[in-house]
């Protein structure tokens, strides 16, 4: 596979704050590559350095064989960047915005073809304020495609969308991939990354914690299996009993927040999983699911945090 992006020892400092800390990775032609991480992990800074919007403090970035610092103009012709949906002109019609951006490039697509691709033909002569959240998001994606780029950067393309809007966006991303374009995206939704991304990199405090194909990364987690169950009522003695079925280092039970008597058990091996299932079945739980760990579990394991921690200010 040919690398379209090569990042080597990339560092970005703002005074004494290290936003991106000596990261290296490659993105291959035609893949969907996900950069995951919390807010402030350095995802956007990394993307903006690759796009040529920010200057790296140190390190090297090559996009399609060109050096980002010295040959940024020729790179810009061949990449497309999705902006936040608020970042489009209030007083220009959608078609005018695409015409304007198109005029800046040597090569550009027909706005009508792009509107058709995301079902926005009827909105072409409207202002951005007349669009719904999902329509805005779709528009911001086609705006990034106006120069028929080889690489497309999508920064949180589904944030704030409802489930239908999100699935729509996934389909659009699939269409872009089918055209042979490389896609780099950031997202907060692990389940989305698991579905869309050929490979992901998980970032934390400016560093890349791990990188690879989502399913392979999940296999490498400490506890690749999990059971989720709901008991008829809270029963601490039963939880104790369940816990004793394996060593503390091999499993972990936690009460899920909110709903009464809703638990999740993370387990290291198939054997231990079977044992736990046996004990659980005898207890006649209201509901139980046996499953595999997800990218989210891996993410929490790596970044060492849960949403609850963050809300308590332990971030």
């Amino acid at each position: 596979m040919k690398n379209v992006i090569e990042v080597k020892n990339l560092t970005k400092k703002y005074g004494s704050l290290v936003a991106v800390d000596k990261i290296s990775f490659e993105v291959q032609k035609g893949e969907v590559f996900g950069l995951l991480g919390e807010n402030g992990a350095g995802k956007t800074t990394t993307l903006e350095m690759i796009e040529g919007l920010r200057k790296p403090t140190k390190g090297e970035i090559k996009v399609l064989g060109h050096d980002v610092v010295h040959e940024v103009q020729s790179i810009k012709e061949k990449i497309g960047v999705q902006l936040q949906s608020s970042a489009y002109y209030d007083y220009l019609k959608l078609r005018e915005i695409l015409d304007l951006f198109g005029s800046f490039y040597e090569k550009h697509l027909e706005p009508d073809d792009l509107f058709k691709m995301v079902d926005l033909e009827s909105k072409a002569n409207q202002y951005i304020k007349n669009l719904s959240g999902g329509q805005k998001q779709r528009f911001s994606i086609i705006a990034s495609l106006i120069n028929d780029p080889e690489i497309v950067f999508l920064d949180e393309p589904t944030t704030g969308l409802d489930p239908i809007g999100r699935r729509n966006t996934w389909n659009i991303i699939a269409k872009i991939k089918e055209q042979g374009k490389t896609i780099i995206l950031t997202t907060h939704y692990m389940e989305e990354a698991e579905i869309l991304c050929d490979r992901v990199a998980i970032m934390e405090k400016g560093k890349i914690m791990t990188i690879g194909q989502p399913h392979k990364l999940i296999e490498k987690t400490k506890t690749p299996y999990k059971i989720e169950f709901v008991l008829a009522k809270e029963d601490p003695s039963f939880i104790d009993r369940l816990m004793k079925s394996c060593d503390a280092k091999d499993c972990d039970i936690k009460k899920l927040p909110g709903k009464t008597a809703h638990f999740e058990m993370n387990i290291k091996s198939q054997d231990l999983l079977n044992k736990a299932v046996e004990i659980l079945q005898k207890e006649n739980p209201e509901s139980f699911t046996i499953g595999r760990a997800t990218l989210e579990d891996l993410f929490i394991e790596l970044t060492g945090k849960t949403i609850a921690d963050e809300e308590n200010g332990n971030a």
Partner: protein, 400 residues
């Protein structure tokens, strides 16, 4: 070539956005009108000064005092206009006039004492008292001046009559007929001749300054606000990710501001012409050229401010700091020669001063290009130097 196309695209986009933003458009059109009308009416001149209420207390009982009252009452400031200078109110005494001024019924007055006629008849010097409204120096200065002139003129008329009487009463031992009475009472007189025909008024002095000031401050704030707004909203990123030259971005924005500035300048000029009778004595194209050059001299400063300021609000505040002193120091309202020495020095580093000076020369004095070439050159150099500083700064700041 690409840069020029991109530059034009940016300018076109800015103007289109501007045209569709009703609120901004309305403010843009109303501001110069407001400014012009306000200044035109606040600063009195011979076109706006009419029917000023003044009081007369005529305690004399003769023909001469009555003549003086009639002269004041019928005074016109311009022979071809029907308006009278004063609206006369009659009082009994000087104290009554003073009270009326205190209660702001009149803007000044004149008291003719009871012995006025008898004193003159007795060949002695009579005195009238002009009462000032010190709370309104602008008006009172003009009223005083006009009243004093009337009294002086009236006085020499009376003097001439008297001398005539003397000369005709005394037997002609010398060739009286060859002596003009005027050569005795006013042996020297002066006549004022300007470079251009007609009476210049304060508004003709102020109008070019206001035009230059409105246009240049609008361009300065407009440019800085336009760049920092796009920075703040994130729309600038959309342009920055494209292969467009950064110079094209700022110059395109400057072009759209310059076009807007010229439209505003035209509005101001039209109002000055229609409402206040200001005439452009020089070449109007030269005025436009100087205006463009003035705008050019400000563009660098605008870019610099927007590069430094991260938010629109900061940019506006920073600019206000420049603009406020500029209003007073650039000679918009007061001639620079009247300022203290150190202020004059400051005035001479402000480009607006040169723009106003040059435009004033062309508009009021009908000067040609050669008369304003120094200002032309200074504005050009100022513009080039500030651009040479600000564009690299902008380029660096914009890449975070």
């Amino acid at each position: 070539m690409r840069t020029f196309e991109d530059l034009w695209q940016i300018a076109k986009k800015d103007l289109l956005e501007f045209r569709r933003d009703r609120l901004r458009l309305v403010t843009f059109l109303i501001m110069p009108m407001f400014m012009m009308i306000m200044v035109g009416f606040i600063f009195p001149n011979q076109n706006t000064l009419k029917n000023v209420p003044i009081g007369i207390a005529n305690q004399g009982n003769g023909q001469i005092s009555q003549q003086l009252v009639t002269t004041i009452t019928n005074l016109k400031l311009s022979p071809d206009k029907p308006d009278l200078a004063f609206e006369i109110k009659t009082y009994d005494s000087i104290d009554a006039i003073k009270n009326a001024i205190k209660s702001q019924q009149i803007s000044g007055g004149i008291d003719i004492p009871a012995d006025f006629d008898t004193t003159i008849a007795a060949n002695k010097q009579a005195t009238v008292t002009i009462v000032q409204d010190q709370s309104n120096p602008q008006i009172s200065q003009m009223v005083d001046q006009i009243l004093s002139q009337i009294v002086t003129g009236f006085s020499s008329e009376v003097g001439a009559q008297k001398i005539n009487q003397i000369l005709t009463a005394v037997p002609p031992t010398n060739p009286v007929s060859s002596i003009s009475v005027q050569s005795i009472i006013a042996p020297v007189t002066s006549k004022i001749e300007g470079i251009i025909p007609g009476n210049p008024n304060y508004f003709e002095f102020v109008a070019p300054g206001i035009m230059a000031m409105i246009v240049m401050t609008a361009v300065l704030t407009g440019l800085a606000a336009s760049i920092s707004r796009e920075k703040e909203q994130g729309t600038l990123d959309g342009i920055l990710i494209s292969p467009i030259n950064r110079l094209a971005i700022v110059l395109g924005k400057a072009l759209s501001q310059a076009i807007r500035g010229l439209v505003q300048g035209a509005i101001v000029l039209l109002l000055a012409f229609l409402l206040f009778g200001v005439t452009v004595h020089g070449n109007i194209m030269l005025v436009a050229l100087l205006l463009v050059l003035g705008i050019f001299s400000f563009i660098g400063l605008g870019i610099l401010v927007s590069a430094i300021a991260t938010e629109q609000e900061t940019a506006t505040q920073l600019l206000f700091m420049f603009q406020f002193p500029m209003l007073f120091l650039s000679g918009v309202f007061f001639p620079i020669a009247l300022m203290p020495n150190f202020m004059q020095k400051i005035a001479h580093v402000i480009p607006l001063t040169y723009a106003i000076n040059a435009i004033r020369k062309v508009m009021v004095l009908g000067a040609g290009f050669t008369a304003v070439r120094t200002e032309f050159l200074i504005l050009l150099i100022f513009g080039v130097v500030t651009l040479a500083i600000s564009v690299p700064v902008f380029k660096r700041v914009i890449t975070r």
